[in-house]
Symmetry: C2
Subunit: 210 residues, 2 copies
DNA sequence: TGTGAGATTTATATCTTTATTAATCAGCAT
DNA sequence: ATGCTGATTAATAAAGATATAAATCTCACA
């Protein structure tokens, strides 16, 4: 089989697809090989262990998430609420592009303590990361001091945004599988939620009292 | 081993504990037997299949969640915002009581389509369920008509509340494992979040324009 | 042309898991 | 005591998974 292309890459892609759909425990190296159309031993030839292969897929996804998050925050000339709109929008669109991602990441990080540790180290060594919290913190607390938004802890702020954004993509597949909704309906639902989330967060933290 | 107590019940309890910690795929009937201190065959003697045993645990948990949700909604003499505070509070406290529950339910529902179907049927046959959405819908849309809250779709409203509430308990274990925080810190974190969520939702849907 | 390196497959050892069957055990009724 | 019944265990079949080693294939290059 397969003159077509570098089998190593094909294996990686097949693994990504299967891991994303069925998780680590739910996919076997045999499945991966079958999907590529090659022998099961080849998977181990290139990646030695299933765990290795998995980590390669997983870390790549994680980096994409990080990169997406920090981008819109650095845009200096947007005002706070615009920045907020942008970052929620960008993050949301990124996730909408592959709706399986949030569940995948959460699932595999919680399912395996060793992996969680690895991920954490990776996260910490990543130069971009250390700054992200700092950036958000300055931006948010500046607004608090200006009284444009109510006093709010930065961690709480981040959790508000992330909760609302991420959870959609966990609820969505449940809703879709159960109601058997079309792709159009799915897109419609996602657009609606995006607007609602932005409205809720902005109203929810805006300082209306004085 | 085990004169102590009905082994059937002990198996069920051990299964609950292990399934909750490690998920369906992550626990074997051997693990369960080992925890009880009995023979592995006994697990199959009482429950025939692993899937059977799992469903028994899973459905029980699901029912508890439903029951908890509908309770505070029926209290007639609380005004809307109090009702909201109560339902968020009750739901939140319930989840706080076993923080593994949200991840467990989501994980096992998304991980297996057949199971999702079963759960859905169970959910639909459950007499209490059919009403919950209706109740919330009436309550919310009444307030919209009274202009105490801005126009908001009931589905969006529910998703806002559930996202914020549930996601905490998914983020919490990640945060705790990684930062190695104490039980006190965990409790503190949960209390803070509860207040923040209530504030955010109320401010976020309150009608301030006019 | 032939040989060596990397790519790919065959074959298999080892382990784990689920599930079943048959054997043993304990206690109660007669 | 005997024998029945349900509880429990021992033993094992069958299936699937990971991983490794050895065999084969391919093809560039000397």
């Amino acid at each position: 089989m397969a003159k077509e292309q570098n089998l190593e890459i094909q294996i990686l892609q097949a693994a990504e697809e299967l891991f994303l759909n069925n998780g680590f425990a739910g996919t076997s190296t045999t499945d991966i090989a079958k999907r590529v159309g090659c022998n099961q031993a080849l998977v181990h030839y290139y990646f030695r262990t299933k765990e290795n292969l998995f980590l390669q897929v997983f870390m790549a996804k994680l980096d994409m998430i990080l990169k997406t998050l920090q981008q819109p925050l650095l845009n200096q000339d947007a005002d706070f609420f615009d920045k907020l709109r942008n970052v929620i929008g960008a993050y949301y669109d990124f996730l909408a592009n592959d709706t399986r991602l949030p569940f995948f990441v959460i699932n595999e990080m919680l399912g395996n303590k060793d992996r969680l540790t690895l991920v954490y180290e990776h996260f910490m060594n990543n130069t971009m990361r250390n700054n992200v919290f700092g950036i958000i913190d300055t931006v948010v607390q500046t607004e608090v001091r200006k009284h444009t938004i109510r006093p709010i802890d930065t961690v709480n702020f981040i959790l508000d945004v992330v909760s609302l954004t991420v959870f959609n993509f966990i609820a969505l597949p449940i809703y879709c599988d159960v109601s058997g909704c079309t792709d159009d309906e799915k897109q419609h639902f996602l657009r609606l939620r995006k607007d609602e989330i932005i409205t809720l967060v902005i109203n929810g933290i805006k300082n209306v009292g004085n």
